[in-house]
C-alpha cells in the first residue's frame, strides 16, 4: 500500500503529541528521578551535590529496606501462586458447568472492579484480631482463635506470618483476572483436539497436562507478568489495609518511598527506592517484551 503525503501528515500529527507527552512525563521524569537518586537532596530545597551511589548503599544497609525487599519477594511468590492456583481451578471448573456459568464468572470477576483502597479497608476489618474473623468464629463455633493475623510479628525463614492476610486480600481481588484469561484461552483451543484425544482414550488429567496447560502457557505468562508488576509496585492495598506494620512486617518499598519522601523529605533516598522498584519491574518486563519483539520479527 502506498501512503499519500496527507496520510503521513495526519499520522504524524497524531503520534507526535502522544510521543512528546510520553517523553516528558514518563521518560523525562524517570531521568529526573535517576538524577535525584545520585544527589544529596534532603530537606525541602533541592541539593544537587553529586554523591554517586551513596543513597543506594545506605538503602541496602537499612534494616527497613532489607525487610521490604524480602517482603516483596515472598509476597510476589505467594500472591502469584495463590492467583494461578485458584484462578486456574475456577476456570477449569467453570468451563465444565453448563448452567449458571455466567453468574459465577461474574461473581469471581467482580472484585477486579473494586479499588484496592476499598479492598484494603474491608480486609483490615475482616482480619482485625479482636473484632474480625476471630470474633465471628468465637461467637458462632465457640472456638477462641489466638492468631493475630496482620499484627503478628513472627516470621518463618524470613517470611512474615503477617503477610498471609495481605496475600489473601490481594489474591481475592485478582484471582478473577487469571480465571478470565484462562477461560478465554480454553475457548481458543480447537475442539477437534479434545475429540481426537477422547477417541485415543485420554482421561481428564491427560487432557489437562498434555493439551490444556501447553496451550495456555503464553496466556498464563502474560497474565503473570501483569500480576507480577502489580505485586512489585504494591502500595494502595497495603497502605490502607495494614500500613507498614509493627517491625515493618507488612512494609513494602512503595510505602517506604512514600513515607521517606513526602513525610520525611528525604528526596534523594526516595528517588533511590523508586529507581530500585523500576529496575525490579524491568527485570520482569524486559525479557517479556524482548520475546514478543522477537516473535513479531519472525
Amino acid at each position: 500500500m502506498v501512503r499519500s503525503r496527507k496520510d503521513i501528515a495526519i499520522g504524524m500529527s497524531i503520534v507526535i503529541p502522544c510521543f512528546l507527552v510520553l517523553a516528558v512525563f514518563v521518560y523525562g521524569f524517570i531521568g529526573w528521578t535517576l538524577t535525584v537518586s545520585f544527589t544529596a537532596w534532603e530537606g525541602v530545597l533541592p541539593n544537587w551535590e553529586f554523591v554517586g551511589l551513596k543513597n543506594f548503599a545506605t538503602l541496602f544497609s537499612t534494616q527497613r529496606f532489607q525487610i521490604d525487599l524480602l517482603n516483596t519477594v515472598f509476597f510476589s511468590i505467594f500472591f502469584l501462586g495463590f492467583c494461578v492456583l485458584f484462578g486456574f481451578t475456577l476456570a477449569i471448573l467453570l468451563d465444565k458447568i453448563t448452567t449458571g456459568a455466567a453468574v459465577f464468572r461474574n461473581i469471581f470477576l467482580f472484585p477486579l472492579a473494586i479499588s484496592f483502597v476499598v479492598t484494603g479497608v474491608i480486609w483490615r476489618w475482616i482480619f482485625n484480631p479482636s473484632v474480625g474473623i476471630n470474633a465471628l468464629i468465637n461467637s458462632t463455633v465457640g472456638v477462641n482463635i489466638a492468631w493475630r493475623w496482620y499484627t503478628d510479628t513472627s516470621s518463618v525463614c524470613g517470611f512474615h506470618i503477617a503477610l498471609i492476610p495481605v496475600v489473601i486480600a490481594a489474591g481475592w481481588q485478582l484471582t478473577g483476572y487469571i480465571m478470565a484469561m484462562v477461560l478465554a484461552g480454553l475457548r481458543a483451543i480447537p475442539v477437534e483436539i479434545f475429540e481426537s484425544a477422547a477417541i485415543d482414550g485420554a482421561g481428564e488429567f491427560r487432557k489437562l497436562f498434555n493439551i490444556i496447560i501447553p496451550h495456555l502457557k503464553p496466556i498464563l505468562l502474560s497474565a503473570l507478568i501483569v500480576l507480577g508488576h502489580i505485586s512489585l509496585k504494591i502500595f494502595d492495598l497495603v497502605y490502607t489495609m495494614t500500613g507498614r506494620g509493627t517491625a515493618f512486617v507488612t512494609d513494602f518499598p512503595g510505602i517506604y518511598m512514600f513515607e521517606t519522601t513526602f513525610q520525611g523529605h528525604f528526596y534523594a533516598e526516595g528517588a533511590g527506592i523508586s529507581i530500585i522498584m523500576l529496575m525490579l519491574v524491568a527485570i520482569v518486563i524486559i525479557p517479556y517484551l524482548y520475546s514478543i519483539l522477537k516473535k513479531e520479527r519472525v
Binding site: 500529527s13 497524531i14 503529541p17 502522544c18 507527552v21 534532603e42 530537606g43 525541602v44 530545597l45 533541592p46 534494616q63 527497613r64 483490615r124 482485625n128 484480631p129 479482636s130 493475630r148 493475623w149 496482620y150 499484627t151 510479628t153 495494614t242 500500613g243 507498614r244 506494620g245 509493627t246 517491625a247 515493618f248 512486617v249 513515607e259 521517606t260 513526602f262 513525610q263 520525611g264 523529605h265 528525604f266
Partner: protein
C-alpha cells in the same frame, strides 16, 4: 481515528487549563487562600468560626478554604511541599508549631519572620515564654499559634478505678503498682492504638518526659542530652515494661480505637493527647464522672505541648490580606472562637474562661504554671526528617525490644539532626 483526534483535543485542553491555572493569581486581588488539613468535625467548625470573624472585618475579600484531607496532615504536607517547591505557595498555611515548620521551611528560607506582627499587637506579653521559644529560631518568630494541645495526658475509666479503690498513678512507680492490680483483676491496664506507629512514639515521648524530667527532655532535642545515655536507656527499659501491660491488638488499632477500649472498660487507661477529650465527649461520656485525667505518669508540672499555627510564606500572592488573617488567628476573639469548638486551649493566656469546660480549664491552669516542653510525635520538638527516623526506630523497637540497639539508632539520628 475519531477517538484519536478526541484524545489529542483532550490533551490540548489539559495543557490550556494548566496554563490558565498557572497565571491565575495576581497581586491586588481581594483574595485569601488558607491552606489546612481541617476538613471535618470540630476542626472544620472552628476554622469556620475564625473565617466568620475575618469576613466581618474584611467583607470584600474572597476567602478560599483550601483543605487536604487525611493522615493527620501528612497528605496536606505532601501537597504543600509540591506547591512551595513549584513556586506557588498559598497565602498562609496550617503547620504544627515548632520544628516541623522551622526544620523544613524556615531553614529553606521560605518563610517571613513575624516579629513585627507580635510587636504591633502586643502579643509578646500574652503568649507564654515557652511557646515563643518553640515558634522561634534565632529570636525570629515564624508562626502564629492558634491553639495548644497537651500530649502528656493519662485518661482513665473512673468506674474501674472506683471499683477497685485505685488512685490514678502520679509517678511511673505508681503506674506499675496500679497496672499490677488491674492485670490481676483481668483488666488490661493500658490501651494503645499504634497502627501507623506515631501513637507508640507519643507514649514513649511521655515516658521519656516522666523519666528524665522537663529539662533533660528538652536537652534531647538540642543535642545536650545523649540518646544513648544511661537515663534514656532506663526510659527505654521502662517503656518495654509498660508495653507488657498494653492490649495485644495494639498494632491493629488507631488512637480512637484505644480510647474506645477505655470507654468500654476493656482497658483502664490510655495515654493520648487531649483530642481524646473531644472523642470521649462525642461518645456521650461526662468529663470527671465517666472518665478522669491526670498528667501522664511522672510528668506533673510539665506541659508537653503541640500547637497548630499559621505562617506567612515568602512570595505569598496576597501578603497584606494574609497578615490580616494572621492577626485574627492571634487575636483573643479569634482564639476564643476557634478553641472551644476544636476542643483545645488558646495559645494566649488571657482567654475568656467562661467559654471552656472543666478539662480545658484544668489544662489552661497547668499551661500557665507548668514547664512547657515540645512534643516530638506532633512536630514541635524535631524536624519531620528526624521524626520519620524516630518512627522507623520505634517500629522495630516495639517488636524486638532491643534497648541497646534502639539507643544506638536514636543517637545516630540525633547526631544527624539535632541543632540543624
Amino acid at each position: 481515528m475519531r477517538k484519536m483526534l478526541g484524545l489529542v483535543l483532550l490533551c490540548g485542553l489539559l495543557v490550556l487549563t494548566l496554563a490558565f491555572y498557572a497565571c491565575g493569581s495576581k497581586q491586588g486581588e481581594k483574595k485569601l487562600e488558607v491552606f489546612s488539613w481541617w476538613t471535618a468535625g470540630g476542626e472544620a467548625e472552628g476554622l469556620e468560626a475564625m473565617r466568620k470573624i475575618f469576613i466581618n472585618q474584611n467583607p470584600d475579600v474572597e476567602f478560599i478554604n483550601a483543605t487536604v484531607a487525611g493522615g493527620a496532615g501528612s497528605n496536606a504536607q505532601a501537597v504543600l511541599a509540591t506547591r512551595m517547591q513549584g513556586g506557588s505557595p498559598p497565602d498562609t498555611f496550617q503547620v504544627h508549631a515548632g520544628l516541623e515548620l522551622i526544620g523544613s521551611w524556615v531553614v529553606a528560607g521560605a518563610m517571613e519572620p513575624l516579629n513585627f506582627l507580635f510587636e504591633e499587637n502586643d502579643w509578646m506579653s500574652v503568649y507564654p515564654q515557652g511557646v515563643i521559644e518553640i515558634i522561634s529560631q534565632d529570636h525570629k518568630i515564624y508562626s502564629v499559634p492558634v491553639n495548644i494541645h497537651r500530649s502528656n495526658v493519662l485518661w482513665y475509666n473512673k468506674a474501674i478505678f472506683n471499683k477497685f479503690g485505685l488512685d490514678p498513678p502520679e509517678t511511673l512507680d505508681d503506674f506499675f503498682t496500679v497496672a499490677e492490680v488491674l492485670a490481676d483483676e483481668g483488666i488490661t491496664p493500658l490501651a494503645l492504638g499504634d497502627n501507623g506507629i506515631w501513637a507508640a512514639t507519643h507514649l514513649f515521648e511521655n515516658i521519656l518526659l516522666g523519666a528524665l524530667g522537663p529539662e533533660k527532655y528538652k536537652g534531647l532535642w538540642t543535642g545536650k542530652v545523649k540518646w544513648d545515655s544511661a537515663d534514656v536507656k532506663a526510659a527505654l527499659k521502662t517503656f518495654v515494661k509498660v508495653l507488657g501491660y498494653v492490649n495485644t491488638d495494639h498494632a491493629a488499632l488507631s488512637w480512637d480505637g484505644a480510647a474506645q477500649y477505655v470507654i468500654d472498660g476493656k482497658c483502664a487507661m490510655t495515654v493520648m493527647g487531649d483530642w481524646a477529650h473531644g472523642y470521649f465527649k462525642a461518645k456521650g461520656l461526662k468529663p470527671g464522672v465517666d472518665y478522669g485525667w491526670m498528667p501522664s505518669p511522672g510528668t506533673i508540672g510539665a506541659f508537653n505541648m503541640l500547637s497548630d499555627s499559621f505562617g506567612l510564606p515568602k512570595n505569598a500572592p496576597h501578603r497584606k490580606i494574609a497578615i490580616k488573617w494572621l492577626t485574627v488567628c492571634g487575636s483573643k476573639a479569634g482564639q476564643d472562637a476557634f478553641n472551644p469548638i476544636k476542643g483545645s486551649i488558646p495559645a494566649r493566656t488571657d482567654a475568656d474562661r467562661n467559654l471552656y469546660d472543666a478539662y480545658l480549664l484544668s489544662a489552661m491552669n497547668d499551661f500557665s504554671s507548668d514547664t512547657i516542653v515540645p512534643s516530638c510525635a506532633h512536630g514541635a520538638a524535631a524536624a519531620q526528617s528526624w521524626v520519620t527516623k524516630i518512627h522507623d526506630v520505634m517500629s522495630i523497637f516495639v517488636a524486638e525490644k532491643d534497648v541497646e540497639k534502639a539507643a544506638r539508632e536514636f543517637q545516630a539520628a540525633a547526631s544527624r539532626f539535632a541543632n540543624k
